[in-house]
Amino acid sequence: MPGTTTKDAESIEPQSLKRALDLPPPVPEAKKIRLSHKIKVAFGGVEPVSQTGTSSASVSSLHERNFSTSALMESTRWPRPEWHAPWKNYRVIQGHLGWVRSVAFDPSNKWFCTGSADRTIKMWDVATGVLKLTLTGHIDQVRALAVSNRHKYMFSAGDDKQVKCWDLEQNKVIRSYHGHLSGVHCLALHPTEDVLLTGGRDSVCRVWDIRTKRQRFALTGHDNTVCSVFTRPTHPQIVTGSHDTTIKFWDLRYGGKAMTTLTHHKKSVRAMTLHPKEDAFASASADNTKKFSLPKGEFCHNMLSQQKTIINAMAVNEDGVMVTGGDNGSIWFWDWKSGHSFQQSQTSVQPGSLESEAGIYAACYDQTGSRLVTCEADKTIKMWKQDENATPETHPVNFKPPKVIRRF
């Protein structure tokens, strides 16, 4: 894969750094003992048979893995964050009668649709924020939405186990994908194939053929609700995040098997977002937001601060502005490259709602990446844009490179 080699992860050379910082030598025994204990417990012990000549290309040296993180992280080489203008809320759209749980933009960028706990899907004009259409048909919360850019179709999935295909020329349900055993929490459209992916509370990600309504694969392997999914044209084509705290890469070619499992998160991975240009994605859970490089799923780094709430929504635009929306109404804006949070704002609930009703359930940039739409628990949709008057002088970047990263 020559295309990805340039973007490959660069690990910092540890030897020089160790010498430079003059750190006490780490204790390799402790780790070894722990690992061997684990192995013994799981597989009944290893017999000490030395075997030279095995292919040890994939196996790295022992002492390399035993350095503490602080030694490995060179603060001077940490990338500086780019300056981004702060984002501000410029429009609040009322109209839904329940929590707004999902949002998707039209490929033409003329309208966007939101799905709500009031069982409706509403379409809004992007420029004016005027309601264009209300679609009914679901009998429970609409949890996920997607608009196809290859067909005139919109797809919706809800807690009522239904996945529906809407024809946008007739505004009707034309197909319904039956098979989920419980509520459907996430939905994604494959960019090149006519394939629809849904993940739900039955801890299965299902791959549907759009046309025939048949289930192509059931990607089983998660132990808990599959709550986030995205697809890519190249491998890995499907990435799912689940409440069992793992992220799995799936291969569509070989019968839908899990290729890689990432176990870096401690809490359920409720939101993931793929960078539009880079081969990397970020995943958010209640403990940390982490960035992974893509074809192999190598862990890149954590975001430099912790939001300390359940993160329901996440989006990133081409400028490298990542946004995460939390359950407590906090919206944090991050610089993608450095993982620095340059703006930590809080939504204000609409008048008449409780203070506890501040919560972000979905967030999405428009096609250009200049507008942000958040769907909130106070039944409103809020639209955000960058502050045009802001300059690096008025809003300086307050960035300190991380010295020690303790949290994995």
Binding site: S36, A42, F43, V59, S60, T192, H264, E278, F299
Partner: protein, 619 residues
Amino acid sequence: MEFLKDLPPAKSTATTFYDHSNDPWFKNRFTESESEKSAAVVAFKAVPVYLKRQGFRPRSPEDFGDGGAFPEIHVAQYPLGMGKNKSSKPGSKTLPVTVDAEGNVVFDAIVRQNENSKKIVYSQHKDIIPKVLKNERGGDGVVDEEEELQKQIQATTEETKAAMEKIVNVRLSAAQPTNVPRQSGDSEFIKYKPSQQSAAFNSGAKERIIRMVEMPVDPLDPPKFKHKRVPKASGSPPVPVMHSPPRPVTVKDQQDWKIPPCISNWKNPKGYTIPLDKRLAADGRGLQDVQINDNFAKLSEALYVAEQKAREAVSMRSKVQKEMMMKEKERKEQELRALAQKARSERTGAPASMPVSSDRARSESVDPRGDYDYDRERERDRDRDRDMEREREREGPKESRAEREERIQRDKIREERRRERERERRLEAKDAATGKKSKITRDRDRDISEKVALGMASTGRKGGEVMYDQRLFNQEKGMDSGFATDDQYNVYDKGLFTAQPTLSTLYKPKKDTDEEMYGNADEQLDKLKNTEKFKPDRAFTGASERSGKRERPVEFEKEDEQDPFGLDRFVSDVNKGKKPLDKIGSGGTMRASGGGGSSSRDDYGGSGRTKINFERGDR
């Protein structure tokens, strides 16, 4: 083997019943070793000469020739298979320890077993340390990169499509089976002869031909048996957990997660004891202070002050008025007294205008001295007047002693009554001042309910007796048994007009319908009403002449047994020439106490043949 030879020979080798050579243990021990030895002997490879053994890896037993391990080759060696773990088969759970290029043990080989060997498994510490993405794109390289990417996408798409096509085709072919089981159209004919050859059996047929056809099967039938495929457990171990263990919960976290229980003022289904302060806190009313405007206090203060002032003014005015009235009265009294004195003086002839004038002058001159002195003066004046009157009385016509006594008595009574009235008035005034009501007014102002409760209400009936429905009494079952079904007309226990005799009016014949035939209406009525004719003119013989009701059942008397039917007498009567039937009625054997004379019922006491003479009652 030599060791065996040294042993003394077995005693009963010839007489052994057990074939040791066939024993599996024996076979394992001996045949294997022999075969191994033979294999080692038969075929062993040529071992490179010493110092020329670079790259030589002795693995199989034949590599060792006849000898042992090569010490200069640093590889685990098993000459003659010695020390080799024979149980290490592909399915075993132990892995050989592998080392990497630098001689370090690869511990994570264990997680890269079966399926995981084809996957990427992150298991090392370097996989969780932060790395920064290189994000440098050369300006000229972009086009190539894009092209590369497009190519890659294309390739992936094609590959995926092909893979999915394959799966779909398999599914489709399964769904549309081409090899539908052919219905074998050919039939088989079987001819047979029944063993029982009789006309009664088998319709008397001698032989039969049976055509055997396979039962047609609907090709579209769903399969009768469903094989549910149990997903195969993945043979690979779980991937290593790449994060630190969860941090212990701090006290602050615990406190943050402590959610107070919901306290309702209306519901407590579990019946917990909820402290009062918690209840008050849940109420929420006590949380905000009530702000009272100062103007309330000001208003009440002003009202109070105004009331005080008004009261003072009123009392002052009333006092002044009272004084003025008093003075007026005094003046009038003086005038009257002066008049009286004048009249008296005129009567007596003495000029007596002096004291009045002097008195008035004095009273006027006294005024500034104060009320008290003035009053005393007045009392003195009155006493003087009384004395004068008494003198006058004495002078008047003398009354008798009795009269005098009487008068004194009357005066006494009068005085008493006056005092009584005065006292009452005083009491009343005192009560009114304190806000109490007098007895009379209190009773008058009572509420109706109070009056009823005190028994003051005039309910018309003075007995205090409560009216009850008569039907409620003397009933065994209860209230609802008294009211019968709807079609039973027993709503009223009495006739509405009890005074009016219903029966007498019901059957009253009309006037002058057929007078000439039956007589006047009154006559008819009398006739109807007359029940005299139903009365027997005489009672049964022997029956006690009682007008009352029968108290006891009818008693029968036993007569002499010899002649129950009175035959003897009959005969004697015949002899006497008397009619027998005359005697029968009077000589009844039954002594019954007949019903009352007014009874209209037919009391046929005697036999059926008894003739009772009814006498028409005189009218």
